[in-house]
């Protein structure tokens, strides 16, 4: 059943700019979600943190659709330390797991946070840890705790402390259109403007260290690829050749940038060594070759080509060689990205005139549609490979959607004004 849970969230940009607000809804059923209780953290020695750590952790876990946190008002007790827990109480409330914690001022300034995770029915501690934080990084600290809890309970690393880059457009189709490249936390909080322009911005791509974004901008009626440092805003123009400057993709080691250029006649794949700025041309075909995507080992580039008459996915050795077709089902397959475990591709496919996100197992003909269409595009894997974020349409408006690879409930991210598109999920940020 596809019940729409308008669970969670809120959230206002720190800047207070109305158009910077993102809202996340959980879509789909939550049957089979594991009950868990995240008890409001104890505040010691006059600590007055500006964020409710337990509610942030609970919201993170709820958004995955795999957990159903207990509302604090249903909790009969609020333990903060292991010795205060009465497991029988929590068994009666039928909660599988329990998270407790405390926050106190640290001697060195900021806060010290201690937290623990328990298996209620086994009566045992699964995780106990502590971390340093400060007023500005309380949300990040909560996301890191949620990451650790999620990993302990599912075996997969959590991605709550990662970020998402996306492009927004306000006033599309009017002379006053503003296009903005933003980065926000994975829960939509803390949106940060990277670049704002009256001209189109496209194809944001993360550096593997999560500190830079490459993107395509059309400032001054020229297309160009830029690389911009997020912390400083400093940016470098990487490519501004005649014709297309598009599809930037960092190699997994961060030393090279794959891109599409048409300076030599038509759209071809090139790889630039970012140290020397030297370009190597990888494809040479009168057809369109574009949308390069690296394999996680950096040895192969997957790309879109219509050399067979329709767009299909091909691959080519990253150091050059012969191209080999890898997608065969349907007559429109494009914009592939390789799963972090290298076993699958996520891509855009057209079926009966509708564009869906699909998951193709590499080395087999197994395909699964991950999205309903009709205009879904720009898929990007979460760094743990458990979810895909993509651009979609809702009531004719551009929105983002997140779907778990394993199935189950998804998320929809909307901006209160204008459109959101071209999501790119960051790598793990350490």
């Amino acid at each position: 059943m596809m019940r729409l849970l308008s669970l969670v969230l809120l959230l206002f940009a720190t800047s207070g700019i109305a158009q910077a607000r993102l809202t996340i809804e959980i879509t789909g059923g939550v049957e089979g979600a594991q009950p868990i209780a995240v008890v409001p953290f104890g505040r010691l020695d006059g600590a007055q943190p500006g964020a409710d750590l337990a509610s942030i952790i609970a919201a993170d876990l709820a958004r995955t659709g795999r957990f159903k946190p207990m509302p604090p008002r249903d909790m009969l007790m609020t333990p903060h330390r292991a010795e205060e827990i009465d497991f029988r109480e929590w068994e009666l409330l039928a909660t599988n797991n329990l998270v407790i914690g405390e926050i106190r001022p640290a001697a060195s300034g900021g806060y010290r946070i201690d937290y623990s995770l328990f298996d209620v029915f086994g009566g045992k501690q699964l995780l106990s840890s502590s971390l340093q934080s400060n007023e500005q990084s309380l949300r990040l600290s909560a996301h890191r705790m949620a990451d650790a809890i999620y990993e302990k309970l599912t075996g997969d690393p959590g991605v709550f402390s990662t970020r998402i880059a996306y492009v927004t457009s306000v006033g599309r189709g009017t002379p006053n259109e503003r296009v903005t490249l933003r980065v926000a936390d994975a829960d939509g909080f803390n949106p940060q403007t990277i670049v704002d322009s009256p001209d189109p911005i496209m194809s944001p791509a993360w550096s593997p260290d999560g500190r830079k974004l490459a993107y395509v901008s059309f400032e001054h009626r020229q297309s160009a690829i830029y690389i911009q440092e997020l912390a400083t805003g400093r940016r470098t123009k990487i490519a501004s050749y005649p014709g297309i400057n598009g599809s930037p993709a960092f190699s997994p080691d961060g030393a090279r940038l794959a891109m599409t250029l048409s300076k030599d006649g038509n759209a071809e794949i090139y790889v630039m060594d970012l140290g020397s700025r030297q370009l190597t041309r990888l494809t040479d075909h009168y057809a369109i070759d574009t949308e390069p995507a690296w394999s996680p080992d950096g040895g192969t580039l997957y790309f879109t080509s219509d050399r067979g008459g329709h767009p299909q996915i091909y691959r080519i050795p990253a150091n050059g060689g012969a191209a080999e077709r890898v997608s065969f089902e349907g007559d429109y397959n494009a914009a592939a990205e390789v799963a972090p475990n290298s076993r699958a591709l996520v891509l855009v496919t057209r079926t009966a005139g509708r564009f869906h996100i699909a998951l193709d197992q590499l080395g087999s003909t197994t395909r699964r549609l991950l999205s309903p269409g009709p205009l879904d595009e720009s898929p990007s894997f979460a760094p743990n490979g458990s979810m895909v974020i993509y651009a979609s349409q809702n009531n004719g408006r551009g929105v983002l959607a997140v779907t778990p690879i394993a199935g189950g409930s998804g998320q929809r991210l909307t901006q209160d004004v204008g459109e959101v598109r071209e999501p790119a999920w960051s790598p793990f940020l350490r």
Binding site: R172, I244, T260, G265, N266, A335, V348, F355, S378, E422
Partner: protein
Amino acid sequence: MKKPLFILLASLILTPLLSGCPTTPTQSDTGLTGEELDAMGGGYDSATTAGVDAYSRSPLEDPSSPLYQRVIYFGYDTSAIDPKYANLLRAHADYLARTADASVVLEGHTDERGTREYNLALGDRRADAVRQFLVTEGVPAQKIRTLSYGEERPAEVGHSERAYSLSRRVELVY
């Protein structure tokens, strides 16, 4: 971009005076040779005094001139130029070839269906098809720049066939 207009205006106004030949404003610019246009360059300053009326006689601004139409449209997922645009493009080629300082940016566009970067390449291919047509018709390649916007700048926002067919286009921007 203003200068070629003024030169052309200067040509239209001054040619009858200088050469005595019976060129009238209703004739298209094809009534002038490239040499005549070049020769008119010296009349640039006097043309500026010709005023707004003369300005409106630029064929680019004249609704009855084929040069007034500066958008051509394409079928779905194709960069083939519809033969019905051949005369229109020849008129532009003629103008570009004969007008010393004229240059054009060919902006390629697509509808929203399909991936953004593939559409960027498709828009590039459309602009390049028009570029090749103009070059074949005698326009020096250095007078032409192509710029694909892919699906980023739709002519009409929406998900209708009408919006799609209006958006699949190349615009000739002088």
